[in-house]
């Protein structure tokens, strides 16, 4: 009892700190900010104060303890742009149509490059767009990523400052991927917090591929929210590469609002961070939508990686296919929570969900919670989840052919992850992940040769 009271008061202290900072923050914003956005911020901070940081007693957070964030003291970065080393990230953006780099939460003009984009396509800093073209932001911003029951979305909405606006007009195809990089560097200062906010609007019958990468150095807290509005018959491929520093906290939400006959896909790669939560919510709000949600998470040491999926089938004749795979070593822990909610009348829904976990050590833990809520009667919904170890028979088979034990284990681990890797259509991103795996896995050179 005593502990509970103590924890509650500490959590409130953490939340109160952000609340106290809010007025200062508002004064720093440009006077030109649309009133509706400021009003949205005020609603969000109010909601955040009411909600406080989540505790283990809340169903949606019962397996992920964010106490370290609640009790931490993070500051918004106000200094000049620090130098960051992009050498690790640059290969990912090879051949990109545009590359926006955000350092400690703000666009770095110096590091960003805009290539040739088709006419009418906007790839810009959200902060700049809010000033210069609010009509491209206001109608959508905050309309889909709900914060009434999500403290981190509320926090982001209150404090959002910069991020990317990607706006693709009707009928336009952006052939090369657009890369967005969010880099934090709080070495030599207090731990910082950033609230990247991205808005992607894909017009009717348009196509675009967007890659978000999160990385950094030192201890810091990244709290991003991305909203995607996928217009009718649009094709949007979204990739998120989370390679934050191993001391970082990362609490992210990706909100997909899908309209008639569109085909949104999300590929989430989670490798870095000390404590990571990726919420992916898709609302299939028109008929004939084909939504793909893939993910791969690799944990080691004491990493905690939580993937919370929520797919809402609001209209008939939509398909959603989710495949999330996790590889956990050391004392890493993962949570997969996959909710599929089929609304009344959403007949002919075809929803598939699969979560597979490979434990490489006896101290690693994978929690997998599929949830189906079905309120229509003519639907096909399947889910499956597994937690297992490497197949000893397969290891012996490989060894009996001359492959060493370590290499055999690595090869099977790679093979486990490979069906997510192979689904990555952006070649430099796929190659980067392959290289990462070859480097991470013992005897990776043998694996490279054998796959």
């Amino acid at each position: 009892m005593t502990t509970d009271v103590l924890r509650t008061s500490e959590v409130l202290t953490g939340a109160a700190r952000f609340a106290a900072d809010f007025d200062t923050f508002l004064r720093e914003l440009p006077a030109s900010e649309p009133a509706a956005i400021t009003a949205l911020r005020r609603m969000a901070i109010e909601r955040f104060v009411t909600l406080g940081f989540p505790t283990l007693r809340q169903e949606e957070w019962r397996q992920t303890n964010v106490g370290a964030i609640a009790q931490g003291s993070f500051v918004r970065y106000e200094g000049p742009e620090p130098t960051v080393d992009l050498s690790r990230l640059e290969p990912l953006a090879e051949g990109a149509a545009a590359r926006l780099v955000f350092v400690n939460g703000r666009l770095s003009q110096r590091l960003s490059t805009l290539g040739e984009l088709p006419a009418g396509v906007i790839v810009a800093s959200l902060a700049e767009a809010l000033e210069k073209a609010p009509d491209k932001v206001e109608p959508w911003l905050g309309q889909h990523a709900r914060f009434d029951d999500h403290p981190f979305v509320a926090l982001n909405t209150a404090f959002l400052r910069d991020g990317a606006l990607v706006w693709v007009p009707r009928g336009v195809v952006v052939e090369k991927p657009i890369h967005l990089m969010f880099v934090s560097n709080s070495t030599g200062s207090e731990p910082i917090v950033t609230f990247p906010r991205n808005l992607f609007v894909a017009g009717e019958n348009s196509q675009v591929t967007i890659v978000e990468t999160y990385a950094g150095e030192g201890a810091y807290f990244t709290c991003p929210v991305t909203e995607l509005v996928a217009g009718p018959a649009s094709v949007v491929d979204h990739y998120k590469v989370q390679i934050e520093s191993r001391e970082a906290f990362h609490m992210a939400t990706f909100q997909i609002e899908a309209e008639r006959s569109c085909a949104p896909s999300s590929h989430s790669i989670s490798i870095g961070g000390a404590l990571v939560r990726n919420d992916v919510n898709a609302v299939l709000d028109g008929e004939g939508i084909d939504c793909i949600l893939n993910g791969l998470y690799l944990g080691e040491g004491r990493q905690v990686i939580d993937n919370h999926m929520r797919v809402e089938h609001a209209k008939p004749h939509c398909a959603s296919h989710e495949l999330y795979k996790g590889v956990l070593d050391g004392a890493a822990r993962s949570v997969f929570n996959g909710l599929i909610h089929v609304h009344p009348g959403a007949q002919k829904t075809d929803a598939k969900q699969s979560n597979r976990n490979l434990l490489l050590s006896s101290n690693a833990i994978a929690n997998s919670n599929p949830q189906l809520e079905i309120f229509a009667d003519d639907v096909k919904c399947t889910h499956g989840s597994t937690v297992g170890q490497l197949d000893e028979d397969a290891i012996f088979y490989l060894r009996s052919r001359g492959i060493g034990q370590e290499a055999a284990r690595s090869l099977l681990t790679y093979a486990f992850a490979s069906d997510i890797v192979e689904r990555i259509k952006v070649e430099p991103v796929r190659r980067d992940l392959e290289e990462f795996l070859f480097a991470r896995l013992p005897q990776g050179e043998v694996v490279r040769q054998a796959v």
């Binding site: 197949d391 028979d393 397969a394 012996f396 088979y397 490989l398 060894r399 009996s400 052919r401 001359g402 492959i403 060493g404 034990q405 290499a407 055999a408 090869l411 099977l412 790679y414 093979a415 486990f416 490979s418 069906d419 043998v446 040769q449 054998a450 796959v451």
Partner: protein, 254 residues
Amino acid sequence: MLQIKNLHVSVEGNEILRGIDLEVPTGAVHAIMGPNGSGKSTLARVLAGQDAYEVTDGQVIFDGKDLLEMDPEERAREGVFMAFQYPVEIPGVSNTYFLKAALNAVRKHRGLPEIDAMEFLALVRQKMKLVQMEETLLHRPVNEGFSGGEKKRNEIFHMAVLEPRFAVLDETDSGLDIDALRIVSDGVNVLRQQDRSFLLITHYQRLLNYIVPDVVHVLLDGRIVRSGGKELALELEEKGYAWLEEAAALPVGA
């Protein structure tokens, strides 16, 4: 080439092999026949190095070296090969690329340079013909979705590529139709040569019509109860194992 001396093996406390003595000279083909539960497959797996088996006594000498001291991969690199009774399906691992990694591990051990992609491809094409394997099986994951016959052919294909000096074929004939049995046997016969020995483990005599052994041993209840020429297999086919079981029981009761 291979000497097995007084080999005793237990699984979870049950003694399965109860003193095996066997010598397979270089270039020889020996067959081990026996009913279910006689310990045939246990012997094969112990030779390959599967660790579920506990060797409680005895020795296995391969080319003057203590085989039982070696890890499974070391045995493979030294030139021991086992064709599995139940080849394992390995999703996500390419049949060809994995074999290339295996071959290079073997070559490295033998002090040979790594084989390059072109040479390997040429080698693979040549060896595939031995077992009439379809090219599509090369690009599939190891054994995944292969039919029973395809899996057995794939084992012989692996053997042909790795060129072992001593090969154990564990019930490679089981579940094969006559065409597949011929293909597999022809593949093995092509690989028979002066410096390569084979141990064929089988329940049935039929395989031995196609791969004619130099010596046939009968394994009963963990012991070799009789050894003879290829005609012993025919005798077993005719009379079954019962007459040997009775004969074998005598010394125990005496």
